[in-house]
Symmetry: C3
Subunit: 159 residues, 3 copies
């Protein structure tokens, strides 16, 4: 069978942000801007780091690009509520040859709770896949809602 | 850092439609057909007009293509209910160099309400981004549910 | 008008799986693994078989690839509950020239119910499109929830 020449991202980057807005969608949009991904056309994916895919702390992608991203978010219109989101990446010991795993989480809780949750999800997923974990990378945001608030955490897959 | 040669759509087109169906998914599918996008594999994106991306009132895309689309929709099974959806595009004064912004909205309301809502969301988003608005393009649909109804409004990003 | 040289998948394959997890997302992830799609970056599409797209019972796609998939799923945390998901593909009589149609369904029911449901949705959709059905392909999964369970059924579009 002929091998499928598919698109496999070369780099991954962690992003996170938080914001207020006058509506739920503008709060979400403002959170994307706060995470420095507000000028992309984000496509949601579930949720693998390809073998050999390299972590980059920074990225330069042209505005308007289609960009794949595994992400979690929450939008809330209850003033005073604490909301948070987190993503974590499980990097395999043999990351040149084996996939890594992305997990995302969001809830009405402080960010350390979201962080612990995603990290334990990564551990569960990697264990289920019988892969040793070399490292877990993560990022998160926390926000106290004023009017309508949103938090967003994601892993960009690009390049 | 090497620049990412990403996919950036060249054209955008506004689409909208409404329909009935025997189930929620077939009502949605029929609304896609009514909007003239029923023969595409639509991928949801959030929600940017790339710099220099050109508005086209018409489009010719081959059936079965993967097509990116920012959209809003609502499916409703309450006979007699009025539902509507709308999308609006904020075109920047400097649209050759600056991104535009897409907002979408849907609710149990008449379409002029959905239109006003998305337009105000575009204004909020463009103001937040400190961009002057040259023009706002929009489209919408309204439907009175008979059995199970759906409305759909979107911005195709293609070419 | 210049024709858009878009991406049109060449092959489609049916996939389905079920699993338990400690959280909703890990249950879903484990169901993807059970369906042999756990190592891909899955992008949700709605829901067309391109003209001439060929059914393949097997596929070989590199880990970490972006893969388009029309799918249905359900995640449930009620021990003892029966959950199921199904997808069906309506293949047109003139499938070299005409698109086929994908429908997906999931609910708290046994899988024969989900199968009948998606098949009737395919019939409705193809009838609405005035296309004769040559064949309906389908797959499904059923699961009795222990702690947190998930089922997933999809149509991969690839190649």
């Amino acid at each position: 069978m002929k091998h499928f020449s598919s698109y496999i991202p070369k780099y991954f980057s962690l992003v996170t942000g938080k914001a207020e807005g006058n509506t739920k969608l503008t709060a979400f949009d403002n959170a994307l801007l706060s995470a420095n991904v507000g000028d992309y056309n984000i496509v949601k994916v579930s949720s693998i780091i390809p073998p050999g895919c390299v972590f980059m702390s920074d990225y330069k992608i042209e505005p308007g690009s289609i960009v794949y991203c595994a992400y979690g978010f929450i939008i809330c219109n209850l003033p005073g509520e604490i909301i948070s989101s987190a993503v974590a990446v499980g990097v395999s010991n043999d990351y040149e040859l084996e996939s890594g795993l992305i997990m995302e989480y969001s809830s009405k809780c402080i960010k350390t709770v979201s962080e612990e949750k995603v990290k334990s999800m990564v551990v569960e997923g990697m264990t289920y896949r019988k892969k040793d974990i070399k490292d877990i990378l993560f990022t998160s945001s926390e926000h106290e809602v004023k009017k309508i608030g949103a938090v967003f955490s994601g892993v960009l897959l690009w390049g």
